[in-house]
């Protein structure tokens, strides 16, 4: 299956090589795409070499998970949409029919026309182009924020869960205090204070919901700490650091992946919310939230200005949630949304 994706990537690379050098934006995204394809190729090599080494019918825990996941149709649908969205996000400059920033004075706030498939906004900018770029921004920030969030949540959760006692108390009390500040006001205040650049947005969004993440990982690591194979490792004299790395973390991986996937959806909703309030991504850079806020003013004339960004947010979040649910059942961890 990985081979088909690999071939598809190479075809795309050749297809776009012509337009690659038009401007910095295209070069950067082309570079990232190339890097990803090479990475995929290396992974494919490693996987096939390892499979030849073992007899064919040995099933690792990941094979088991993949087999269960493949049976869940909605999760597969979610996965394919997520993959498609990644392609759109990375190759945005190549896919865009027209420059999202140029204003076509002749066609202001129109519905779908031949020139603009999804119509234009009040300043004549093409909605489809802006949506593609906005998806790129949303996905980029969303993934980055979730990675930060997961790292923070996991490490705090592991420390609190594994070491217990005072460290556990301190970390959990702090997180409870942190969680009791109404998030949205905190985000707004921080954005107003630090200025609403992309970096601040990622920072703020990644600081939310740490309590939930840490609490689940803490629960899991407490359970794992009592497992007999951890006791066996301790009796062998293996130091705590190595136990955490070789025994606790690999078995915490399943809940972390599920939590991260489910949180991507939530993070994208939060980013859209902030942009809706005019705080997240600042114009002229396109963002789904601000497009939707804009669309509300023109509800009576051109409904497409609200429907398109809204349904794109819905599509992204739905895809991630479906995929996350599928992963949760396949890895049968008991995290409830």
């Amino acid at each position: 299956m990985l081979r088909f994706v690999l071939i598809f990537n190479v075809v795309l690379l050749l297809w776009f090589v012509g337009e690659a050098k038009t401007n910095t934006d295209t070069i950067v995204s082309y570079g990232i795409f190339l890097l990803l394809t090479v990475l995929l190729g290396v992974m494919q090599l490693v996987m096939s070499r390892r499979r030849k080494q073992r007899e064919d019918d040995i099933r690792t825990a990941w094979d088991l998970m993949w087999r269960k996941l493949r049976r869940n149709k909605s999760a597969m649908a979610g996965m394919w949409v997520v993959t498609a969205l990644c392609y759109v996000a990375i190759l945005a400059p190549f896919l865009v029919p027209v420059d999202p920033y140029n204003m076509d004075w002749g066609a202001m706030s129109l519905g779908p026309t031949a020139g603009h498939w999804l119509g234009t906004d009040e300043m004549g900018r093409d909605t489809l182009a802006r949506t593609i770029y906005a998806t790129r921004v949303a996905m980029g920030i969303g993934l980055l924020a979730v990675v930060l969030n997961s790292l923070l949540g996991t490490s705090l959760g592991l420390l609190a869960g594994y070491y217990g006692g005072k460290t556990d108390n301190i970390i959990m009390r702090l997180l409870e205090f942190w969680n009791s500040i109404p998030f949205i006001l905190l985000a707004i205040a921080l954005m107003a204070a630090l200025g609403s650049g992309l970096f601040n947005l990622v920072l703020v969004v990644s600081l939310t919901g740490i309590l939930e993440f840490a609490r689940i990982i803490r629960g899991d690591s407490q359970l794992l700490k009592k497992a007999d194979y951890v006791n066996a490792a301790r009796v062998m004299g293996i130091p705590n650091r190595q136990i955490l790395r070789r025994h606790i973390l690999p078995n915490c991986l399943a809940p972390i992946i599920v939590m991260a996937t489910l949180r991507i959806g939530e993070t994208i909703l939060t980013i859209a919310g902030l942009s809706f309030l005019g705080l997240g991504v600042q114009p002229p850079m396109p963002s789904l939230g601000s497009m939707l806020a804009n669309g509300q003013q023109f509800l009576y004339e051109n409904i497409y200005m609200s429907i398109v960004p809204g349904s794109v947010i819905l599509l992204i979040v739905l895809a991630f949630n479906l995929f996350g649910d599928g992963l949760r059942d396949a890895l049968d961890s008991r995290i409830t949304q």
């Binding site: 009791s180 109404p182 998030f183 949205i184 205040a189 107003a192 959806g265 309030l277 609200s306 409830t336």
Partner: protein
């Protein structure tokens, strides 16, 4: 039970100090100066100096902090923008937010718990798939997008309900008409996640041994679900609703912005934009208090439902 509640309320004080210090730090960190924001750029030098003196913006930070905290509690912390003391401005707006929040919580709970139970009992039936896909839909849709869609449908096309604005308390007809759309859009998210949780909590409980014991006693399937299973499933459901309340605050702010609803959330957002520091201070503190009180109520409810919890 009582001294547990009192102890939890005492915990509120360190929390308030933590929150207020944090918010105060952020506000002071923001570049620019509230006075110029109020009077605009052309204002003369002395007017700005006067305003700064009036709102004690020149004293050293710790003094300002203590000054602000003292004024907030004895009610005469002046809002820069609203020319009135912060406490009354916020309390004036509080009912709108609380009514909206409670109504949407009510709608969500009334709809989602029965739907969750039925889809757990009739697992993998058509009803189960339908309700679960609706719930998945509800969790993924942004609150403000549902708001805009509802406005478009009911206000723009059908013109049954007003597009925005507050028409009085919800027990008045006019008030209710205004409140239906925002309450519906806010409750849609809560409804979705509570349905999913009710279903998984019920499924978890239905496979327990004591359910099998109950059936072995000859209890009918309906009674086993409604009496034995549901009473146990209520514990995780109540805990989740408590967590959802935190999420509702974010949703409330967004819904109030979509429907131009005169609530505390929107007040705070505008206050931040207008650099009205005392007002921001007041709003955040108040919302933190409301949040902690709600959490305490959920914990007490949790203790009431689960006999194994003892209030030592």
């Amino acid at each position: 039970m009582l001294n547990y509640a009192i102890r939890r309320l005492l915990l509120l004080i360190p929390l308030l100090i933590f929150v207020s210090l944090f918010v105060f730090a952020i506000l002071k960190l923001t570049p620019g100066d509230p006075a110029t924001a109020l009077l605009g750029d052309q204002a003369t030098e002395e007017a700005i100096a006067l305003a700064r003196a009036k709102y004690a913006l020149d004293e050293p930070l710790p003094v300002q902090y203590v000054h602000m905290m003292a004024n907030f509690f004895n009610g005469d912390l002046q809002s820069i923008f609203h020319k009135d003391n912060v406490l009354s401005v916020v309390l004036h707006r509080l009912p709108a937010t609380l009514e909206l929040g409670l109504l949407s919580l009510l709608i969500a709970v009334i709809v989602s718990i029965p739907v969750g139970i039925i889809s757990a009992v009739k697992r993998n039936s058509f009803f189960d798939y339908a309700s679960m896909s609706m719930a998945m839909f509800g969790v993924s849709i942004p609150v403000f997008f549902t708001g805009i869609l509802l406005i478009y449908l009911f206000a723009v096309i059908l013109k049954w309900l007003p597009a925005s604005g507050y028409g009085g308390h919800f027990w008045t007809i006019e008030g209710l008409r205004h409140m239906i759309l925002p309450a519906l859009s806010l409750s849609f998210v809560l409804m979705a996640s509570t349905t999913r949780l009710t279903r998984s909590a019920m499924l978890e409980v239905i496979h327990q041994d004591y359910i099998r014991t109950a059936r072995a006693k000859g209890v009918s399937r309906f009674m086993v679900v409604m009496f034995h299973a549901f009473k146990n499933a209520l514990i995780p459901i109540a805990t989740n609703i408590g967590n959802q309340v935190a999420r509702m605050f974010a949703g409330a702010v967004l819904t109030e912005t979509v429907f131009a609803w005169p609530g505390v959330g929107r007040l705070a957002v505008n206050a931040i934009f207008r650099r009205d520091e005392p007002l921001v201070f007041g709003c955040v503190l108040l919302m933190a208090v409301v949040y902690v009180v709600i959490n305490l109520l959920v914990d007490l409810l949790y203790g009431f439902l689960n006999p194994q919890i003892s209030y030592d």
